[in-house]
Symmetry: C2
Subunit: 203 residues, 2 copies
DNA sequence: CGCGATATGTTCGATCACGAATATTCGGAT
DNA sequence: ATCCGAATATTCGTGATCGAACATATCGCG
């Protein structure tokens, strides 16, 4: 089997679309129910669920034949609820997309990286203060994540918590790195810090 | 001084806007020149620079008074080049925004996290194969980043490379974590793996 | 029973993002 | 001289995004 080296452009790129397809694997649902299911399963911490986007995404999935209308319900006087089911093409797209995401790291642009690259625009003392604050915040965040995880272990198999464990690991990694940076900044050992300070103090 | 606990909504949220303001600190420029400067300084690895977005962003910055037209050049027959400069309000917004980004971690949604949370949709053996491939890819990526860094150390002060070091650190952290996950999956020690397999093999 | 609060569902439109197209100039090879 | 590809510089149309508004149902409680 030949693995395509360049990722092909997908017809839908919103991650929510993938989450929707996976959810519909569990059976036909209407959009709102999809959102509820995702939330109930805690997927909303790893995928941004936006009602605004949800309906558009489902529509687009239908347009491309990945889902189809399975039923149109009407209970009482409420607006109709269109129930969607996953198609064969949908299942295939889902598997392929998910596989690609797992196997291939993609370059993303976390906002903290941007901020770091622009660090020079602040006074070095200010930078140190701010990064110290970040470390504190990260510690709180990590503690929260650990706590949540402990609770969840009691009711959910680990399999369904991998992404939470990953999050925690990455939070810890970030904390560690920022601590290292702070150390170098405070010791002034980092090449270029004197120049930086001088630049900001004279202009 | 009271630190606002909730981040106030910014008039501009595109990170490119921040990068633009920081660049204009160095002096007035026209949009294209801003992009060149960012690229020359390697900022394009940490901020997504999109020509399509650039002009819109600069316009919006102007609309909100963060930059202003400093000059309109015309050389030969080319289209006019509008040269922009940072305003006082712009400098303030820049400092405040950058400070917030450094001090406060924000929840983002990296696509790999989504993929992890949906892992159960694939057969466990398939998941293992794919994650092994990811580890290989991550190793290549890390090697590349390390190489680039070595080269850059020769010509650029460390201060301007912090974001690259951060990237590398995070790549390594991710690799380590995926390796751990793989180990657990292969050993079958992870709670729930048998059920997972069974589910996929019977349907 | 009547009231507000909360949960259930969906739609809309203003804004945003960005690939691709456009248009000109410059440098170097022929 | 002239042709061509790369660099310079900007615009535009399409499509995505998402907060907020809308509308109804259900539930708890006095």
């Amino acid at each position: 089997m030949v693995v395509p080296v360049a990722a092909k452009r997908r017809k839908l790129s919103n991650p929510l679309a993938l989450a929707v397809m996976v959810t519909l694997c569990q059976g036909p649902m209407h959009p709102y129910e999809i959102a509820q299911t995702l939330r109930r399963q805690g997927k909303d911490t790893s995928t941004k669920i936006n009602y605004g986007s949800l309906y558009t995404v489902v529509q687009n999935l239908e347009k491309h034949g990945f889902v189809e209308v399975a039923d149109i319900e009407r209970k009482g006087n409420r607006p109709e609820r269109t129930v969607y089911g996953l198609t064969g093409a949908g299942r295939e797209e889902m598997t392929e997309w998910l596989s690609e995401l797992l196997a291939r790291p993609v370059k993303e642009f976390p906002i903290f990286e941007t901020a770091l690259s622009l660090l020079g625009a602040l006074h070095p003392d200010e930078a140190v203060t701010l990064l110290e604050e970040r470390v504190k915040n990260l510690e709180v965040q990590a503690a929260g994540e650990r706590g949540a995880l402990e609770k969840l272990y009691e009711s959910v198999p680990r399999l369904f918590l991998v992404e939470v464990e990953y999050q925690l690991h990455m939070t810890e990694a970030q904390t560690e790195w920022v601590r290292g940076l702070l150390k170098e900044l405070r010791e002034g050992s980092m090449l270029g810090v004197e120049g930086w300070r001088h630049f900001h103090e004279t202009g």
